[in-house]
Amino acid sequence: MRRSSIRALAVPGVLVLLVVLVALAAPILPLADPVRQDVANRLSGPSAGHWLGQDEYGRDVLSRIIWGARVSLTVAAVAAALAAIVGTLLGILGGYFRGLVELVTVRVAEIVLCFPPLLLALLVVTLLGPGAGTLVFSLAILFAPGFARVAYAETLSARALDYVTAQQALGARTRRILFLTLLPNIAPPLIVQFSLTVAAAMVLESGLSFLGLGVVPPSPSWGLMIRGARASMEQAPLLLFWPCLALTGTVLVLNLLCDRLRDVLDPRGKAAGRPGFLGRLIALPPAPAPRQAPGLLTVDGLTLSVPGPKGPIEVVRDVGFTLAPGETLAIVGESGSGKTLTGLTVMGLLPAAVKPVAGSILFTGRDGRVRDLLRLPEPEMRSLRGRDLAMIFQDPSSSLNPLLRIGSQLAETLRAHGVRNGVRDRVIGLLRQVGLPDPERAADAYPHEISGGQRQRVMIAAAIANGPRLLLADEPTTALDVTVQAQILALLADLKRAEGGMGMAFVTHNLAVVGEIADRVLVMYAGEVVEEGPVADVFAAPRHPYTAALIASMPEGDAERLTAIPGAVPQPWAMPAGCRFAPRCTLAAEACRATAPALTEVAPGRSSRCLRWKEVA
């Protein structure tokens, strides 16, 4: 466990421990007998002998609260433990074997969930009569299905994971898989469930006791104490206060522990914090607004950083390029190269954690005005998005809202930019333009009713709806099959031909796709541009060792062995001091490790970030 996790658990953990210790220590603490009555002093206030006063029978309140903790905690913990053991076993067996086993374990357990919990407890009390034993039994029955459900769901998802299949493939026995592989991996949510159950069981126990159907008097119990104090609340309101405080405090501390446990052990539910688009922070100092800019889009010196444990980490450094109207620029690189972040920066859609710290993005809009997108206020940026600037994303199945009809999602794009009349016709026209077979029907369909390739066509239709000047495509074919990829690439090429001046930036990891679609290519590595130039020239004669190695590692040639690049991309927080590619480069010399090379022009329209570019064959 990491230090931060321990810190998060410390406060509630210590408090829970304190409650448990006090309850355990009840017999050895110098307390009055919790059941000894002293009717003469009934309802008397706090005194030296009775710090919290005496109840309606003159019994010591402090002593009853501490002894009551013992009863409540024991009942809750034993019931939760029983429920955990039985429920987990049922859930794992049901989830692993499915079929008939699932029917008799999980489904039967779920029937219990058809009864409202308190009602079921009352039913058991009716049948068995009140008492601590009944309580434990009924609470265990009540909470076991919860564990079964969690264990079942976790087992189902874990069972489909490759490392479980790997154990089967290795020939491991079922018992070994269940207890050595599955159980440790589904344990975290079960531990959370356990602490949740202890708290819930305490609440239920005290509730039943409050109704007079749980713990039998004169045994001390918080629920019973509240029940007793209610009758005399006019004379002694404090009597009501103490057990309420004890009960609420304990449950609160348990719940807090549970919340923290969930955050530490089971981080899935934890959201990443403030959503990015609700207020784009413009952290950059204003720069003089340029009148003229070369081309359609000019990115210069763009640097992005994310907060790290030891200060900000630059994930994109000094990226610059120019895109002319009607041109297609491919931004190519492996994971962690910063290619996608660069694209998102142009759209002003960076995740909240990533901050631009330097550079400018000059964009010439349809109105001929040049704007620095990096410094543009959000309302102005918004009016550009979807009109002058459009984007298509990698995964067409998650880029459309599953709950809205396709036509309605296209229509909102048009309406957001002022189209009021003939929206439906425009929508159908767009769908026809991107080659959907039955545009009328497609407009009325929900996204799940059409195929992945068609969904990407819809995304493209939305992107071109308002005639953008610049289309950003972020790995638009990566999630598609090759035959469909070919269709989408052809469609994009057609659209570009039709919309004369539209520029396109195409982000991809696939060099072969670059060759199909782009005029120029920008190769990125570890957050930097390493080479830029016309596609044909770069592919024919790369001027950076990384580009050369990437081309050589494509499994296309007839060579017996593929040329592999040794090592792996450096992590953003552990970048080499000199050239970032030096540790993996066959040409690297001392100078490469010492100084970070600058992007230099190696030929008209071509640049490389390499000290020894002349030697790259």
Partner: protein
């Protein structure tokens, strides 16, 4: 049956159905992921299985290892039907056949050291006691090109490519004869892909492994495999030697697939892309499953399912097409 008699593993007429979850009272419509697939892998041979999503290639890999039972047909390992083997014999046989997965992040147990996971197979099959197995782990790590001192680390401390090497080491630990590799490089970056492909090629040459290499990437398959099986919607479309198929693809689907695959070498030479998309396996077309997208389809293609037959004058090459003889 044309399959050679010396096949190490052979699948005969494999059909595998999945049931869409129906209501309480119905089982739902069966979806046939595989329909009558014949495949054989000889000792030391690398067979590539290629196709797009939904073609059944991954299911085939799992059926060959009997991680999924076939709905119909049988799988023979050295002539023994895996379905009729007693459970204990089958478990023992698992030592000799292993699996490498696509996702290097999901295939390793995040809570156990990589050393323990590599040792698992040896312990399970009684090849070594726990301590002996742990002693052999460094050698295995070295064999796949990793630092032998890293056995005590947890999976999250490794990169994707390194994890894939660990998965290969785990598969090798029991000294198998047959490995199914299910898209082992498609989750990796290009520069790392080549490392793992080379590793698999070296190991195969060194250890004489029989390899079933499942991939959607034609180029990788071409590089690594002796023979290629092209699948579409649960059926085999074409089968033959890798070099031959890439030189002159015969089946209309193989041709379209090759033409659609972008390539650095044949830039811009792409023919008109294949229309439409792969139909749902819940509602496959009648007759030839490819006919709905085939440029050569005729009415008769809808009537009967074409069988896999030797291409006239092309030796080991077999294709499933009614118009095999008439194709231009």
């Amino acid at each position: 049956m044309n399959a050679p008699q010396d096949a190490l593993v052979r699948g005969e007429g494999i059909t595998r159905a999945f049931h869409r979850r129906g209501g309480l009272f119905s089982r739902g419509t069966p979806m046939l992921a595989l329909r009558g697939v014949d495949i054989a892998v000889k000792r030391g041979e690398a067979v590539g299985v290629v196709g797009e999503s939904g073609c059944g290639k991954s299911t085939l890999g799992r059926v060959m290892l009997r991680l999924l039972p076939p709905t119909d047909g049988r799988v023979l390992f050295e002539g023994e039907d895996l379905a009729t083997l007693p459970a204990a014999r089958l478990r023992a046989l698992r030592r000799r056949m292993q699996l490498v997965f696509q996702d290097p992040y999901g295939s390793l147990d995040p809570r156990r050291t990589v050393g323990a996971q590599i040792a698992d197979g040896m312990v399970i099959h009684g090849l070594a006691t726990g301590a002996e197995a742990a002693e052999r782990v460094p050698a295995l790590l070295r064999q796949v090109g990793l630092d032998p001192d890293h056995a005590k680390r947890l999976p999250h401390e490794f990169s994707g490519g390194q994890r894939q090497r660990i998965a290969v080491a785990r598969a090798l630990s029991t000294q198998p004869d047959f490995i199914v590799a299910d898209e082992p490089v498609s989750a990796l970056d290009v520069s790392i892909q080549a490392q793992v492909v080379n590793l698999l090629a070296d190991l195969r040459a060194e250890l004489g492994l029989a390899l079933m290499f499942i991939s959607h990437d034609l180029h990788v398959v071409r590089h690594l495999c002796d023979r290629v099986v092209v699948m579409y919607l649960g059926r085999v479309m074409e089968e033959g030697s890798a070099a031959e198929i890439f030189r002159a693809p015969a089946h209309p689907y193989t041709r379209a697939l090759l033409a659609a695959t972008p390539s650095l070498r044949h830039r811009g030479a792409a023919a008109a892309p294949l229309a439409g998309e792969v139909p749902s396996i819940a509602r496959p077309p009648s007759g030839c499953v490819f006919r709905t997208r085939c440029a050569f389809a005729q009415p008769r293609c809808a009537e009967a399912v074409p069988t896999l037959e030797s291409l006239p004058g092309a030796g080991a090459r077999r294709i499933a097409c009614h118009r095999a003889a008439e194709l231009p």
